[in-house]
Amino acid sequence: MNDLPNHHPTGARLDAVITGDADPHAAAHVASCAECAAYVERLRQGAESFAAAPRPSPEAFVQAVVRRRAAEGARRARSRWIGATTSVLALAACVVILVRARPITAPPNDVPVVAPGPGPIRFKGGSQVAVIVERRGGQSREMGALSVAPGDRIRVEIALDHDDDVEAGVLADDGTWVALQPATHFGAGTHFSAGAVAFDQHVNEGWVVVGPPDAVARARATRDLSSVHAIRIHPAAP
Protein backbone atom coordinates (compact mmCIF):
# COMPACT_ATOMS: atom_id res chain seq x y z
CA MET A 1 0.00 0.00 0.00
CA ASN A 2 1.34 3.41 -0.80
CA ASP A 3 0.29 7.04 -0.92
CA LEU A 4 1.60 7.93 -4.34
CA PRO A 5 0.15 11.17 -5.68
CA ASN A 6 -2.75 10.57 -8.03
CA HIS A 7 -2.79 12.74 -11.14
CA HIS A 8 -6.04 11.19 -12.40
CA PRO A 9 -9.44 12.46 -11.23
CA THR A 10 -10.83 10.44 -8.33
CA GLY A 11 -12.94 7.36 -9.02
CA ALA A 12 -16.20 9.10 -8.14
CA ARG A 13 -15.42 11.98 -10.50
CA LEU A 14 -14.62 9.58 -13.34
CA ASP A 15 -17.76 7.55 -12.66
CA ALA A 16 -19.78 10.76 -12.99
CA VAL A 17 -18.71 11.07 -16.62
CA ILE A 18 -21.13 8.34 -17.68
CA THR A 19 -24.08 9.85 -15.79
CA GLY A 20 -23.50 13.36 -17.12
CA ASP A 21 -22.63 14.71 -13.67
CA ALA A 22 -18.91 15.11 -14.26
CA ASP A 23 -17.14 18.41 -13.61
CA PRO A 24 -15.47 20.01 -16.66
CA HIS A 25 -11.96 19.16 -15.47
CA ALA A 26 -12.75 15.43 -15.15
CA ALA A 27 -14.44 15.38 -18.55
CA ALA A 28 -11.48 17.14 -20.16
CA HIS A 29 -9.03 14.75 -18.48
CA VAL A 30 -10.88 11.72 -19.85
CA ALA A 31 -10.68 13.20 -23.33
CA SER A 32 -6.88 13.37 -23.07
CA CYS A 33 -6.01 10.28 -20.96
CA ALA A 34 -6.22 6.87 -22.58
CA GLU A 35 -6.18 5.05 -19.23
CA CYS A 36 -9.14 7.00 -17.85
CA ALA A 37 -10.97 6.85 -21.18
CA ALA A 38 -10.68 3.04 -21.14
CA TYR A 39 -11.99 2.89 -17.57
CA VAL A 40 -14.95 5.13 -18.42
CA GLU A 41 -15.70 3.11 -21.54
CA ARG A 42 -15.80 -0.12 -19.51
CA LEU A 43 -18.23 1.52 -17.11
CA ARG A 44 -20.34 2.85 -19.96
CA GLN A 45 -20.65 -0.62 -21.48
CA GLY A 46 -21.70 -2.05 -18.12
CA ALA A 47 -24.27 0.70 -17.65
CA GLU A 48 -25.68 0.12 -21.12
CA SER A 49 -26.04 -3.61 -20.49
CA PHE A 50 -27.79 -2.88 -17.23
CA ALA A 51 -30.10 -0.32 -18.86
CA ALA A 52 -31.10 -2.82 -21.53
CA ALA A 53 -32.32 -5.34 -18.94
CA PRO A 54 -32.44 -3.78 -15.47
CA ARG A 55 -33.04 -6.29 -12.69
CA PRO A 56 -35.20 -5.62 -10.90
CA SER A 57 -37.13 -3.35 -13.23
CA PRO A 58 -37.31 0.32 -12.17
CA GLU A 59 -41.01 -0.06 -11.36
CA ALA A 60 -40.46 -3.18 -9.22
CA PHE A 61 -37.54 -1.54 -7.45
CA VAL A 62 -39.53 1.60 -6.68
CA GLN A 63 -42.41 -0.46 -5.33
CA ALA A 64 -39.99 -2.33 -3.07
CA VAL A 65 -38.52 0.96 -1.82
CA VAL A 66 -41.98 2.42 -1.18
CA ARG A 67 -43.01 -0.68 0.76
CA ARG A 68 -39.81 -0.56 2.76
CA ARG A 69 -40.32 3.09 3.59
CA ALA A 70 -43.88 2.40 4.74
CA ALA A 71 -42.65 -0.51 6.85
CA GLU A 72 -39.95 1.61 8.46
CA GLY A 73 -42.48 4.36 9.16
CA ALA A 74 -44.79 1.83 10.79
CA ARG A 75 -41.92 0.45 12.84
CA ARG A 76 -40.93 3.92 14.07
CA ALA A 77 -44.54 4.69 14.95
CA ARG A 78 -44.83 1.40 16.77
CA SER A 79 -41.64 2.10 18.72
CA ARG A 80 -43.02 5.46 19.86
CA TRP A 81 -46.28 3.86 20.82
CA ILE A 82 -44.60 1.08 22.72
CA GLY A 83 -42.40 3.49 24.59
CA ALA A 84 -45.46 5.39 25.77
CA THR A 85 -47.51 2.41 26.87
CA THR A 86 -45.39 0.00 28.82
CA SER A 87 -48.29 -1.91 30.27
CA VAL A 88 -49.75 -2.50 26.84
CA LEU A 89 -46.34 -3.72 25.71
CA ALA A 90 -46.36 -6.38 28.41
CA LEU A 91 -49.77 -7.53 27.27
CA ALA A 92 -48.66 -7.55 23.65
CA ALA A 93 -45.62 -9.63 24.56
CA CYS A 94 -47.86 -12.18 26.24
CA VAL A 95 -49.97 -12.38 23.10
CA VAL A 96 -46.89 -12.87 20.95
CA ILE A 97 -45.64 -15.62 23.24
CA LEU A 98 -48.97 -17.39 23.08
CA VAL A 99 -49.00 -17.24 19.31
CA ARG A 100 -45.39 -18.39 18.98
CA ALA A 101 -45.87 -21.17 21.51
CA ARG A 102 -48.97 -22.55 19.87
CA PRO A 103 -48.71 -26.34 19.96
CA ILE A 104 -47.90 -28.03 16.71
CA THR A 105 -51.04 -29.49 15.26
CA ALA A 106 -49.25 -31.35 12.55
CA PRO A 107 -49.91 -34.95 11.73
CA PRO A 108 -47.03 -37.45 11.75
CA ASN A 109 -44.43 -37.28 9.00
CA ASP A 110 -45.97 -40.00 6.89
CA VAL A 111 -49.23 -38.08 6.51
CA PRO A 112 -49.60 -35.78 3.49
CA VAL A 113 -48.81 -32.09 3.69
CA VAL A 114 -51.16 -29.95 5.74
CA ALA A 115 -52.01 -27.24 3.21
CA PRO A 116 -51.97 -23.69 4.50
CA GLY A 117 -55.67 -22.90 4.64
CA PRO A 118 -57.76 -21.64 1.76
CA GLY A 119 -55.91 -20.12 -1.15
CA PRO A 120 -52.39 -20.72 -2.39
CA ILE A 121 -50.62 -18.27 -0.09
CA ARG A 122 -50.80 -17.18 3.52
CA PHE A 123 -49.88 -13.85 4.99
CA LYS A 124 -48.72 -13.71 8.56
CA GLY A 125 -48.96 -10.44 10.44
CA GLY A 126 -46.59 -7.81 9.17
CA SER A 127 -44.87 -9.71 6.42
CA GLN A 128 -45.49 -10.45 2.80
CA VAL A 129 -43.87 -12.89 0.42
CA ALA A 130 -43.69 -12.97 -3.36
CA VAL A 131 -41.78 -15.21 -5.74
CA ILE A 132 -39.70 -13.78 -8.57
CA VAL A 133 -39.83 -16.14 -11.55
CA GLU A 134 -37.20 -15.80 -14.28
CA ARG A 135 -38.19 -17.43 -17.55
CA ARG A 136 -36.34 -17.09 -20.85
CA GLY A 137 -34.81 -13.74 -19.92
CA GLY A 138 -38.09 -12.31 -18.62
CA GLN A 139 -39.11 -11.83 -15.04
CA SER A 140 -42.46 -11.90 -13.24
CA ARG A 141 -43.50 -11.39 -9.64
CA GLU A 142 -45.96 -14.00 -8.39
CA MET A 143 -47.95 -13.98 -5.20
CA GLY A 144 -50.22 -16.93 -5.89
CA ALA A 145 -49.64 -20.53 -6.90
CA LEU A 146 -46.76 -20.97 -9.33
CA SER A 147 -46.77 -22.81 -12.63
CA VAL A 148 -43.14 -23.67 -13.13
CA ALA A 149 -41.60 -24.86 -16.38
CA PRO A 150 -38.24 -26.59 -16.94
CA GLY A 151 -35.48 -23.98 -17.04
CA ASP A 152 -37.32 -21.53 -14.79
CA ARG A 153 -35.41 -19.92 -11.95
CA ILE A 154 -37.07 -18.62 -8.80
CA ARG A 155 -36.11 -16.54 -5.79
CA VAL A 156 -38.23 -15.00 -3.06
CA GLU A 157 -38.95 -11.41 -2.10
CA ILE A 158 -39.69 -10.95 1.60
CA ALA A 159 -41.21 -7.69 2.89
CA LEU A 160 -41.10 -7.21 6.66
CA ASP A 161 -42.47 -4.40 8.80
CA HIS A 162 -40.26 -5.42 11.72
CA ASP A 163 -36.87 -7.04 12.37
CA ASP A 164 -37.12 -10.82 12.28
CA ASP A 165 -35.22 -14.04 11.68
CA VAL A 166 -36.22 -15.57 8.37
CA GLU A 167 -35.41 -18.75 6.48
CA ALA A 168 -36.70 -19.77 3.06
CA GLY A 169 -36.50 -22.68 0.69
CA VAL A 170 -38.34 -25.07 -1.59
CA LEU A 171 -39.92 -28.12 0.04
CA ALA A 172 -40.76 -30.73 -2.58
CA ASP A 173 -43.62 -33.11 -1.94
CA ASP A 174 -41.08 -35.93 -1.68
CA GLY A 175 -39.50 -34.12 1.29
CA THR A 176 -36.48 -32.72 -0.55
CA TRP A 177 -35.41 -29.32 0.74
CA VAL A 178 -33.48 -26.75 -1.31
CA ALA A 179 -32.46 -23.60 0.57
CA LEU A 180 -33.20 -20.18 -0.90
CA GLN A 181 -32.26 -18.16 2.16
CA PRO A 182 -30.39 -19.54 5.16
CA ALA A 183 -31.62 -18.38 8.56
CA THR A 184 -30.85 -14.67 8.59
CA HIS A 185 -31.78 -11.73 10.77
CA PHE A 186 -33.43 -9.18 8.49
CA GLY A 187 -34.39 -5.63 9.34
CA ALA A 188 -37.68 -4.11 8.31
CA GLY A 189 -37.90 -3.66 4.57
CA THR A 190 -37.90 -5.73 1.43
CA HIS A 191 -35.27 -8.40 0.93
CA PHE A 192 -34.45 -10.81 -1.86
CA SER A 193 -33.27 -14.33 -1.09
CA ALA A 194 -29.54 -14.86 -1.30
CA GLY A 195 -30.02 -17.95 -3.45
CA ALA A 196 -32.18 -19.04 -6.34
CA VAL A 197 -33.52 -22.41 -7.43
CA ALA A 198 -33.31 -23.46 -11.07
CA PHE A 199 -35.66 -26.22 -12.25
CA ASP A 200 -34.38 -28.91 -14.56
CA GLN A 201 -36.38 -31.02 -16.99
CA HIS A 202 -38.54 -32.59 -14.30
CA VAL A 203 -40.42 -30.13 -12.10
CA ASN A 204 -41.50 -31.69 -8.81
CA GLU A 205 -44.58 -30.38 -7.07
CA GLY A 206 -43.91 -28.69 -3.77
CA TRP A 207 -43.99 -25.48 -1.80
CA VAL A 208 -41.97 -22.33 -1.47
CA VAL A 209 -41.70 -22.04 2.30
CA VAL A 210 -40.76 -18.83 4.14
CA GLY A 211 -40.88 -18.10 7.85
CA PRO A 212 -39.02 -17.94 11.14
CA PRO A 213 -36.34 -20.67 11.26
CA ASP A 214 -38.11 -22.64 14.00
CA ALA A 215 -41.38 -22.62 12.04
CA VAL A 216 -39.59 -23.63 8.85
CA ALA A 217 -37.87 -26.47 10.69
CA ARG A 218 -41.25 -27.67 11.96
CA ALA A 219 -42.74 -27.39 8.49
CA ARG A 220 -39.92 -29.50 7.06
CA ALA A 221 -40.15 -32.08 9.83
CA THR A 222 -43.91 -32.36 10.13
CA ARG A 223 -45.18 -30.97 6.82
CA ASP A 224 -47.48 -28.67 8.75
CA LEU A 225 -47.40 -25.41 6.81
CA SER A 226 -49.81 -23.56 9.06
CA SER A 227 -47.08 -21.40 10.68
CA VAL A 228 -45.18 -20.34 7.56
CA HIS A 229 -45.78 -18.57 4.30
CA ALA A 230 -46.31 -21.27 1.72
CA ILE A 231 -46.73 -20.87 -2.03
CA ARG A 232 -47.67 -23.93 -4.05
CA ILE A 233 -45.51 -25.01 -7.00
CA HIS A 234 -47.12 -26.90 -9.89
CA PRO A 235 -45.44 -28.07 -13.08
CA ALA A 236 -46.59 -25.86 -15.95
CA ALA A 237 -48.83 -27.55 -18.49
CA PRO A 238 -46.76 -28.73 -21.47
Partner: protein
Amino acid sequence: MPTDDGADLTNEELAELYRRYAFLLRRRCRMLLRDEALAEDALQTAFVKIIESRAALARADNRLAWMYRVVDRSSFDLLRRRRVRRAEPIDQHSDTTAAAPGVDLEARNAVLRVLSELTESEYKVAVLAYVDGVPQTEIASALGLSRPTIWKRLLSIRERAARLLEVTP
Protein backbone atom coordinates in the same frame (compact mmCIF):
# COMPACT_ATOMS: atom_id res chain seq x y z
CA MET B 1 -34.74 15.91 -12.43
CA PRO B 2 -35.92 16.81 -8.93
CA THR B 3 -36.44 20.44 -8.06
CA ASP B 4 -35.74 22.04 -4.70
CA ASP B 5 -39.32 22.33 -3.43
CA GLY B 6 -38.97 20.29 -0.24
CA ALA B 7 -41.49 17.59 -1.22
CA ASP B 8 -40.68 13.90 -1.41
CA LEU B 9 -39.58 12.47 -4.73
CA THR B 10 -42.38 10.97 -6.79
CA ASN B 11 -42.28 7.34 -7.91
CA GLU B 12 -41.57 8.51 -11.46
CA GLU B 13 -38.62 10.62 -10.32
CA LEU B 14 -37.34 7.73 -8.24
CA ALA B 15 -37.60 5.36 -11.20
CA GLU B 16 -35.68 7.85 -13.35
CA LEU B 17 -32.91 8.08 -10.74
CA TYR B 18 -32.80 4.28 -10.68
CA ARG B 19 -32.49 4.08 -14.47
CA ARG B 20 -29.69 6.58 -14.48
CA TYR B 21 -27.70 5.70 -11.38
CA ALA B 22 -28.57 2.17 -10.25
CA PHE B 23 -25.78 0.49 -12.18
CA LEU B 24 -23.09 2.54 -10.47
CA LEU B 25 -24.76 2.59 -7.05
CA ARG B 26 -25.32 -1.18 -7.03
CA ARG B 27 -21.75 -1.74 -8.22
CA ARG B 28 -20.48 0.32 -5.32
CA CYS B 29 -22.67 -1.53 -2.78
CA ARG B 30 -21.44 -4.87 -4.12
CA MET B 31 -17.84 -3.72 -3.88
CA LEU B 32 -18.23 -2.51 -0.29
CA LEU B 33 -20.33 -5.43 0.94
CA ARG B 34 -19.23 -8.29 -1.33
CA ASP B 35 -22.64 -9.88 -0.97
CA GLU B 36 -25.45 -9.71 -3.52
CA ALA B 37 -28.34 -9.79 -1.06
CA LEU B 38 -26.76 -7.24 1.26
CA ALA B 39 -25.99 -4.98 -1.69
CA GLU B 40 -29.62 -5.04 -2.78
CA ASP B 41 -30.62 -4.30 0.81
CA ALA B 42 -28.21 -1.36 1.03
CA LEU B 43 -29.43 0.05 -2.28
CA GLN B 44 -33.05 -0.04 -1.15
CA THR B 45 -32.16 1.58 2.17
CA ALA B 46 -30.28 4.31 0.35
CA PHE B 47 -33.23 5.02 -1.93
CA VAL B 48 -35.56 5.28 1.09
CA LYS B 49 -33.30 8.10 2.29
CA ILE B 50 -33.11 9.61 -1.18
CA ILE B 51 -36.93 9.84 -1.41
CA GLU B 52 -36.89 12.33 1.47
CA SER B 53 -33.88 14.27 0.22
CA ARG B 54 -35.25 16.09 -2.81
CA ALA B 55 -33.83 19.43 -1.66
CA ALA B 56 -30.36 18.07 -0.88
CA LEU B 57 -30.25 16.20 -4.17
CA ALA B 58 -31.27 19.29 -6.12
CA ARG B 59 -28.54 21.33 -4.40
CA ALA B 60 -25.78 18.76 -4.96
CA ASP B 61 -23.05 19.86 -7.38
CA ASN B 62 -22.49 16.24 -8.32
CA ARG B 63 -25.56 14.08 -7.79
CA LEU B 64 -23.64 10.84 -8.22
CA ALA B 65 -21.09 11.81 -5.57
CA TRP B 66 -23.91 12.79 -3.22
CA MET B 67 -25.66 9.46 -3.76
CA TYR B 68 -22.37 7.62 -3.28
CA ARG B 69 -22.21 9.12 0.22
CA VAL B 70 -25.73 7.83 0.89
CA VAL B 71 -25.00 4.27 -0.28
CA ASP B 72 -21.67 4.36 1.60
CA ARG B 73 -23.57 5.09 4.81
CA SER B 74 -26.20 2.43 4.12
CA SER B 75 -23.47 -0.10 3.41
CA PHE B 76 -21.63 0.84 6.60
CA ASP B 77 -24.79 0.33 8.66
CA LEU B 78 -25.23 -3.14 7.17
CA LEU B 79 -21.59 -4.02 7.70
CA ARG B 80 -21.89 -3.14 11.37
CA ARG B 81 -25.13 -5.09 11.80
CA ARG B 82 -23.89 -8.17 9.96
CA ARG B 83 -20.23 -8.10 10.84
CA VAL B 84 -20.13 -11.79 11.58
CA ARG B 85 -21.34 -12.67 8.11
CA ARG B 86 -18.65 -13.98 5.82
CA ALA B 87 -18.21 -11.86 2.73
CA GLU B 88 -17.65 -13.32 -0.70
CA PRO B 89 -14.25 -12.85 -2.34
CA ILE B 90 -14.11 -9.66 -4.37
CA ASP B 91 -13.17 -11.74 -7.44
CA GLN B 92 -16.73 -13.09 -7.53
CA HIS B 93 -18.01 -9.62 -8.36
CA SER B 94 -16.34 -9.25 -11.70
CA ASP B 95 -17.85 -5.88 -12.54
CA THR B 96 -16.43 -4.38 -9.38
CA THR B 97 -12.87 -5.60 -9.78
CA ALA B 98 -11.85 -2.81 -12.12
CA ALA B 99 -10.56 0.19 -10.22
CA ALA B 100 -10.24 3.77 -11.42
CA PRO B 101 -6.75 4.51 -12.78
CA GLY B 102 -5.66 6.44 -9.69
CA VAL B 103 -6.65 3.68 -7.27
CA ASP B 104 -4.15 1.16 -5.90
CA LEU B 105 -6.08 -2.06 -6.58
CA GLU B 106 -4.10 -4.22 -4.16
CA ALA B 107 -4.53 -1.73 -1.34
CA ARG B 108 -8.20 -1.29 -2.12
CA ASN B 109 -8.94 -5.00 -2.02
CA ALA B 110 -7.01 -5.38 1.23
CA VAL B 111 -8.95 -2.55 2.85
CA LEU B 112 -12.28 -3.89 1.60
CA ARG B 113 -11.61 -6.97 3.71
CA VAL B 114 -11.39 -4.99 6.93
CA LEU B 115 -14.19 -2.46 6.36
CA SER B 116 -16.49 -4.16 8.84
CA GLU B 117 -13.85 -3.79 11.55
CA LEU B 118 -13.56 -0.02 11.21
CA THR B 119 -15.23 2.76 13.12
CA GLU B 120 -17.48 5.05 11.12
CA SER B 121 -14.86 7.79 10.86
CA GLU B 122 -12.19 5.30 9.78
CA TYR B 123 -14.62 3.81 7.27
CA LYS B 124 -15.24 7.21 5.66
CA VAL B 125 -11.53 7.85 5.34
CA ALA B 126 -10.87 4.36 4.00
CA VAL B 127 -13.54 4.57 1.30
CA LEU B 128 -12.41 8.01 0.14
CA ALA B 129 -8.74 7.04 0.09
CA TYR B 130 -8.77 3.47 -1.16
CA VAL B 131 -12.01 3.13 -3.14
CA ASP B 132 -12.17 6.60 -4.71
CA GLY B 133 -8.46 7.44 -4.70
CA VAL B 134 -8.99 10.85 -3.08
CA PRO B 135 -5.71 12.53 -1.99
CA GLN B 136 -5.16 13.01 1.74
CA THR B 137 -5.40 16.80 1.56
CA GLU B 138 -8.81 16.59 -0.11
CA ILE B 139 -10.02 14.01 2.42
CA ALA B 140 -8.92 16.31 5.22
CA SER B 141 -10.79 19.19 3.64
CA ALA B 142 -13.93 17.14 2.96
CA LEU B 143 -14.12 15.76 6.50
CA GLY B 144 -12.97 18.89 8.30
CA LEU B 145 -9.93 17.17 9.77
CA SER B 146 -6.20 17.89 9.67
CA ARG B 147 -3.97 16.10 7.24
CA PRO B 148 -1.90 14.49 10.07
CA THR B 149 -5.14 13.06 11.45
CA ILE B 150 -5.99 11.56 8.07
CA TRP B 151 -2.44 10.20 7.77
CA LYS B 152 -2.70 8.52 11.20
CA ARG B 153 -6.06 6.98 10.38
CA LEU B 154 -4.80 5.61 7.08
CA LEU B 155 -1.76 4.18 8.84
CA SER B 156 -4.01 2.47 11.39
CA ILE B 157 -6.26 1.08 8.65
CA ARG B 158 -3.27 -0.23 6.69
CA GLU B 159 -1.83 -1.92 9.75
CA ARG B 160 -5.13 -3.64 10.48
CA ALA B 161 -5.46 -4.79 6.88
CA ALA B 162 -1.89 -6.09 6.93
CA ARG B 163 -2.51 -8.02 10.17
CA LEU B 164 -5.65 -9.60 8.72
CA LEU B 165 -3.85 -10.56 5.53
CA GLU B 166 -1.11 -12.21 7.58
CA VAL B 167 -3.71 -14.33 9.37
CA THR B 168 -5.88 -15.10 6.34
CA PRO B 169 -3.78 -14.55 3.21
